[in-house]
Symmetry: C2
Subunit: 328 residues, 2 copies
């Protein structure tokens, strides 16, 4: 676990309702009072309002809605996931950066998170709209000892974690649309992109990208997606604290990942099915080779979607876009 | 196709039995006579003997046994594989470098090749002995549109290419030991390591690492592998030109890869089986979970090994080390 002075400072000031003196902060953190003062100046530049009262010390009164590692790691109750956080204001794509960290041996659970992506990407090389300050754009590095064909299971595991995290933080109930979208009220609020670095028969790292529209205002969605996309703020009617949401998702994911490593995919599958938007419904399935209409029956142990067509034949769908029936 | 001045120079001088004047070289290549002269000086430093005769010009009389891109690409009869060559004298591992090139969008068919690897690696994170100047240590980037579970097929395709290339250049007959070794007379001469960058349901790039003991003298093998490893030179009794071997393998691989993309794995499977060392024999199979003895029956369409135990049960083996029966 790497903890920087800045992270310690945010944590100490967040945990105290009262003022903490510069002297005390410098003792606990183990740096000079001048260093403490400099870090507090930096926090102010980042949008924190830090009251300083003579003979009493410092107190945070306003926190910006940011994704600073100190905010994410403050009281984060995990052993691995999110214990190393690489935060950047602007990146091309957190997946790209996570791939490089993974190649360089990053620890399992490392996350890469950014306030803005300039070339955010989704499945099949599609673009993912990632405007500054309003979303959670992050990538998580896992290193499970599984063959590549089991990797789709981790997309489903991640989806369940996100649904649970959203519910904890906002109370909103979200549904999963196979394979990698999360919807609220039929509109997309989260996309998940699972990528691998692997040998032919063994995964070296799984890089799970999660993009969440958190505080995007309704009018900020591009025209071509405004009818199919939404944000947590739009649905909830209030601003959501992003660091709290990330923390909740990390904690849910770590619990599910432990279950997965110990007991396999079966228990995750049950949870996934209970949040699935498509199961039992008539869906339109578009694959590279063509289209298929039928009833989504369920998923297999490998995360493959089973679709029964009108003649009763069951098709195994590995990769596709699914359209759900329109609401009537 | 990227062709450097140096590559052009090697190609021109190689194709001519006669001298070529500096003037003519500079006209064909499109650079100054001084530049030609400087490049020739560089070639000499690399071990080429270049005769220079006044009023006649230059001629290569001795070529070093090197892996210069100019040597590899000279008369290379492929469209993609090997048309972009990144050569380095010393690298940690060509796989590591190929991964970075692949992330940065390297073209299909790009190869990374080195004269020496300091941290060459094999399957399951094992080390691969890659001494300077005596082997072929290379990685090839392919971008087939396949799901990750089909990637083992490309290990088998690469193995067939290498067997065919070795046969063309040396006349030696090699056998493939599932999944990724090539043997001559029961001793290992080539290892193949297939790695992926992929989405959960689609491969972005397959990086095929091929390590060949080419001119390693018998006494140069470390003690712990001298009884199980050999080199082409040891088996053939003469030095092998490495660039020629690489070229032959690239050409075989490109042909097989075209067949694979057009007709799928079935024709490759047939060729693989005809070179397989283990099929029909009793083998010992060591997996992560345990051991198994039985008869190697064949491989499936996905490249999975089928082993029938003494009770007649057929096991599907995804990842394992195979021991062949000792010669009697």
């Amino acid at each position: 676990m790497q903890t920087t002075t800045r992270e310690r400072l945010i944590s100490l000031l967040s945990d105290s309702d009262d003022y903490i003196s510069g002297q005390k902060l410098s003792e606990i953190i183990g740096c000079s009072r001048t260093a403490v003062w400099k870090h507090i100046e930096e926090l102010r530049k980042e949008g924190y309002v830090v009251e300083a009262v003579q003979k009493r010390g410092y107190r945070i009164t306003v926190r910006p809605n940011n994704l600073h590692p100190g905010e994410i790691k403050n009281h984060l109750n995990t052993e691995k996931i999110g214990q190393v956080v690489h935060f950047e204001n602007t990146v091309t794509s957190t997946q790209e950066i996570a791939h490089k960290h993974a190649l360089n041996g990053a620890e399992e659970g490392t996350i890469i998170i950014a306030d803005e992506q300039t070339v955010g990407r989704g499945r099949l090389g599609r673009a993912w709209h990632s405007p500054k300050g309003s979303g959670v754009w992050m990538s998580i590095i896992l290193r499970p000892n599984i063959p590549p064909q089991k990797a789709p299971q981790l997309t489903l595991l991640a989806a369940v974690s996100v649904v649970q995290g959203i519910e904890e933080v906002t109370g909103l109930s979200a549904q999963i649309k196979w394979p990698n979208d999360i919807l609220i009220d039929g509109k997309k609020v989260v996309g998940i992109l699972t990528e691998l670095q692997a040998e032919a028969d063994r995964v070296n790292s799984v890089i799970i990208g999660i993009g969440i529209n958190v505080n995007t205002p309704k009018e900020a969605f591009p025209k071509d997606i405004e009818t199919i996309a939404t944000s947590l703020k739009v649905e909830k009617g209030e601003e959501i604290e992003r660091a709290y949401l990330v923390r909740a998702i990390m904690e849910k994911m770590e619990k599910l990942y432990h279950i997965y490593l110990e007991h396999g995919f079966a228990p995750i599958k049950l949870m996934w099915e209970s949040s699935a938007a498509s199961l039992g419904k008539r869906v339109r399935v578009r694959t590279i080779t063509g289209e298929l209409y039928g009833k989504a029956q369920g998923i297999t142990e490998e995360g493959v979607l089973l679709v029964e067509d009108d003649e009763g034949t069951v098709h195994r769908v590995y990769s596709a876009d699914i359209e759900l029936p329109q609401k009537s």
